[in-house]
């Protein structure tokens, strides 16, 4: 909701609470990006709600000068759904970590996405449980030794973006916490998307999984390890020297060298964010393939879940007439008892 009479600066969205994340935590960068996005959106703090579960990331609402509901572990998407059922006009954001959203609360995440509730859902994925001190999470890579897996993780990790697409999400994006231009841009787009918008943020935990994303954030390695996708543009990385094309021998993407004739001649695909199949291929890319960042998929439905429900209620009222409770209870046969 916009309020054009006011100037909106990122600092306007900061609450009076002292931020208590560890020094150097990636959450600070995400908080900064959120403040920037809110300022750009000219979001009215009185009509904006941040909902979280439990975990380091779930402290988010306390640090923003909007309405906030810090709930219970994993249940933020369900609470947020209830808020939208009651007040569809509110801007509702959900913030959680990989434990919150991909372990204890995965069911609610899946169904919020499937229903297409008009929410921005941020998953701060640092591949570890932070607040409970370093246990393996559903995104921890194979072999990682943690206090709960001293012999190494034997479970294969989950991809938040692939899961979201499988759940029927109609907006899926991914960025690094340190991408202070891209991340606010994705958050603005997510907010402006009609329906559920999932943004996976690859966030660094300096204490328990430091450097989990350094292969993507390190300036010297980044050109080869990541690809930032933009709608309508060729899927290029390595400073334009390489691109992604359809593999010849299997259903998948392959790296091709881009010659002087340009990307089209090399068979490089152009990103189409309404192409769900391409989005699924991009979401699955993992080293040694470049990790895809940006808006992987965006294809809004005509109406979000809570608006569709409201529309049904309008139709029911129009069909049955504006009847009151007295008429309702008399839908069954009645009889009179005289005095």
């Amino acid at each position: 909701m916009n309020d054009s009479a006011r100037m909106f600066e990122p600092a306007d969205y900061r609450s009076d609470q002292e931020v208590r994340w560890c020094p150097g935590c990636g959450d600070y960068a995400v908080l900064r990006a959120v403040e920037k996005a809110l300022a750009e959106l000219r979001a009215d703090p009185d009509r904006t709600v941040f909902v979280s579960g439990i975990g380091c990331a779930a402290r988010f609402p306390h640090y923003l000068a909007t309405y906030g509901f810090h709930g219970i572990h994993g249940r933020a998407p369900a609470i947020a759904t209830g808020i939208k059922l009651a007040k569809p006009e509110l801007d509702v954001w959900v913030v959680g970590g990989d434990g919150d959203m991909l372990a204890i609360g995965t069911n609610h995440l899946i169904h919020a996405l499937r229903r297409d509730v008009d929410l921005v859902i941020m998953i701060l994925n640092n591949e570890v449980y932070g607040l409970t001190k370093g246990q393996a999470s559903p995104t921890t890579p194979l072999g990682t030794r943690t206090p709960s897996t001293p012999l190494g993780v034997v479970e294969r990790p989950l991809s938040a973006c692939a899961l979201a697409l499988a759940a029927g999400a109609r907006f899926v994006a991914r960025a690094l916490d340190v991408q202070q231009k891209l991340l606010p841009e994705l958050l603005v787009r997510a907010r402006n998307h009609r329906g559920a918008a999932l943004v996976e943020i690859l966030q660094n935990c300096v204490i328990y999984a430091d450097g989990a994303w350094s292969h993507l954030s390190d300036k010297t390695r980044a050109p080869e390890t990541r690809i930032v996708v933009r709608h309508g543009e060729p899927l290029l990385f390595a400073n334009g020297r390489k691109g992604l094309a359809l593999a010849r021998d299997r259903a998948g993407l392959a790296i091709v060298e881009v010659g002087p004739e340009g990307p089209d001649a090399a068979g490089v695909l152009r990103h189409d964010e309404r192409d769900r199949t391409l989005a699924a291929l991009l979401a699955d890319l993992a080293p040694p393939m470049p990790v895809a960042l940006g808006v992987l998929y965006a294809d809004p439905a005509p109406q979000s879940f809570e608006r569709a429900l409201r529309a049904q209620e309008e139709q029911a009222r129009a069909r049955e007439g504006a009847r009151d409770l007295d008429a309702l209870v008399r839908r069954a046969p009645t009889w009179e008892v005289a005095a």
Binding site: D46, N107, L325, L328, R330, P333, W335
Partner: protein, 625 residues
């Protein structure tokens, strides 16, 4: 009570004089595909329109489509018809209509001595007897010697009557429920016109089926007039009900209306969030059909999401309501703690069923009282109410919303499988045009804070969207003054006390406990809660009619308890607490008031019979000081 003024054998000659009955208990029973519930519903309607009092209860099989002819596929419907106020479906049927041997087998143990049993002889083939696991034909081996048996080829007669309507032989046979209904209406002197009108409406889209069912119904009714059989004929007079307009309601219907009316009186939108579970699902179905009347319904992905969405809706300024049954309530536990910590209004309906774990989903019990009052981690007080009868669900649902929104607290409303599905006459209330207990939200610019408690210890409700009052709430411990996260030891003690006192203060906002029957100081008090109201009321009335000095206390407010309850209980010589659990209320009363409450426990999945309670009361009076 099903006391017959004249024995059933009084019928006989074709020229009939009707015997007046004070009350009668009729049970219809057959395969789940036999249309038992439809016929039962119409019998209830015809009874209601005749002015007698009634209570009904359907008994469905747990299996959705059980194999036909099996005992576990039997569906039954029982109705208690009386010329006086009755509160139960009656201990034992006076009449059983059994459409097949399995229905006879299942219901035999319940019948009273001398009961009338109506059977269809064509249904007693060798295969049907085998399916019902009768070694011998019960009509021949003396099994039915204690009963009066009428063998009428119901299905064949129905088929013959319906044949001319252009329906198939199979469809014609399926009208047997209406044929039987016609006969019963004739036997009990009920007006057939409302049923005829209902058939016309129900089958309006298929004139063939309308004609077939009407023909079968009329044939059943006419059979009574013309049959050579010695058919008994009775009449049950009108009951002295208070004047007004009535309809029948099940507990679930009354709950749905009460929730709608409660939200309207609070001036709030109703958001109902639920996950399918027996027996609570019926409430979701009903409200989902009432969305034109101011309710948003949401079928969540699980029990936890259902309660969390309801909490989210309440946070946003609607009244969030969720409903479940035992195992689902257990899943909602953590979220209830959040609602307590965040001090948000919420209504949770628990339609109790027999436990533990999955237990017996279709059977009734009242064993979630401890779970409702205490079943959460931490010191987590909330309000617990219980409805007493199907119609009482209306008032208690309204009350649950009133207390939740005016005390900023979750309220658990206990019903059970019996209340949910039983039906009785309900006098329609006068719906006020203006909200009776409106919620006042802070107006824009108002200087307040979410933690500025009033004299009752209640905090303001400030939904998001309120200008200038943006704030954060959390399930973490909060500073008493600022609401910021606090782990300060003294502050936690202060907040724990604030939450406790806020809930205890609800006792100032509820009625004092009174005696439903009898006076304080009686030799014996029978103290009940929930659906035991019916059998206790009827049993106490019976003993009092014989001069017994017994009082009835019925609790609708289980936590906090009414202010005067301790003093009232201390006035009685003895305190008997019948419950469909192993003594939860009895333990609560002993713990709270140090009174010698004695438990009368029943955990069979079935309600108390009036006879069981009369015996217990008389035993108690015999030993009372």
């Amino acid at each position: 009570m099903a006391e017959l003024e004249t024995p059933l054998s009084a019928g006989g000659a074709p020229a009939r004089t009707r015997v007046r009955l004070s009350s009668v208990v009729v049970r219809l029973s057959g395969d789940s595909g036999d249309g038992i519930q439809v016929a039962g519903g119409q019998l209830a309607l015809a009874t209601a329109l005749s002015g007698s009092d009634l209570e009904t209860f359907p008994d469905f099989p747990a299996e959705i489509r059980a194999p036909s002819g099996t005992t576990y596929g039997v569906s039954s419907f029982q109705i208690h018809i009386a010329d006086h106020r009755v509160h139960t479906v009656g201990d034992r049927p006076d009449v059983l209509v059994a459409f097949n041997p399995a229905a006879l087998k299942v219901n035999l143990p319940d019948l009273r001595e001398g009961a009338l049993v109506v059977l269809d002889p064509d249904s007693f083939g060798p295969r049907a007897l085998e399916r019902a696991r009768f070694a011998e034909d019960p009509r021949r081996d003396g099994t039915l010697s204690r009963f009066r048996v009428l063998e009428i080829p119901i299905e064949a007669l129905a088929r013959g009557a319906a044949r001319g309507s252009g329906v198939s032989a199979r469809e014609a046979g399926r009208t047997k429920n209406f044929w039987a209904l016609g006969l019963i209406l004739w036997m009990y002197d009920r007006d057939p016109a409302p049923v005829r009108a209902w058939i016309a409406r129900r089958f309006a889209s298929d004139p063939r089926l309308a004609a077939a069912n009407r023909a079968a119904f009329d044939a059943g009714y006419a059979f009574g007039e013309t049959s050579e059989l010695a058919l008994p004929t009775y009449t049950v007079a009108r009951a002295p009900l208070p004047p007004g307009t009535y309809r029948t309601v099940t507990g679930h219907e009354a709950l749905a209306f009460g929730l709608l009316d409660g939200a309207r009186n609070a001036g709030l939108e109703l958001v109902f969030c639920s996950y399918p579970i027996t027996p609570a699902s019926g409430l979701l179905h009903l409200l989902a059909g009432m969305r034109a009347y101011g309710v948003t319904t949401f079928q969540a992905e699980d029990e936890i999401a259902a309660v969390c969405a309801a909490i989210g809706a309440s946070y946003a300024g609607a009244i969030g309501v969720t409903a479940s049954s035992g195992p689902g309530m257990a899943l909602k536990t953590e979220a209830l703690g959040l609602a307590v910590a965040a001090e948000l209004p919420l209504v949770v309906v628990d339609a109790q069923r027999a436990g533990p774990s999955t237990g017996m989903p279709t059977k009734t019990e009242q064993s979630d009282l401890f779970q409702a009052i205490w079943g959460r981690n931490g010191e987590t007080p909330l309000v617990v109410l219980a409805a007493a009868t199907p119609a009482d669900c209306f008032a208690m649902a309204r009350e649950a919303i009133r207390i939740a929104v005016h005390h900023m607290t979750p309220v658990v409303l206990l019903t059970d499988g019996y209340l949910a599905n039983a039906a009785e006459p309900w006098r329609l209330p006068a719906f006020a045009s203006e909200p009776e207990f409106p919620v006042r939200f802070p107006s824009p610019g108002e200087k307040t804070s979410p933690w500025a408690r009033d004299a009752r210890g209640v905090r303001p409700w400030i939904p998001p969207g309120t200008p200038g009052l943006a704030h954060r709430i959390t399930g973490l411990e909060k500073d008493f003054e600022t609401g910021a996260i606090s782990y300060d030891p003294a502050n936690h003690a202060r907040m724990t006390e604030a939450r406790r006192r806020k809930v205890l203060a609800v006792a100032d906002d509820i009625p004092e406990q009174r005696c439903e029957q009898g006076e304080p100081g009686a030799r014996l008090a029978v103290v009940g809660w929930g659906s035991t109201y019916g059998p206790i009321a009827d049993a106490v009335a019976e003993v009092r009619a014989r001069g017994g000095d017994v009082a009835q206390i019925h609790l609708r407010y289980l936590w906090p308890l009414p202010r005067n309850l301790g003093e009232l209980l201390s006035s009685f010589g003895r305190i008997l607490v019948p419950e469909m659990n192993t003594g939860q209320l009895a333990a609560l009363l002993r713990a709270c008031f140090l009174v010698p409450a004695e438990s009368l426990s029943k955990v069979t999945g079935r309600p108390f019979a009036v006879r069981e309670l009369v015996d217990a009361i008389e035993r108690g009076l015999g030993e009372a000081p």
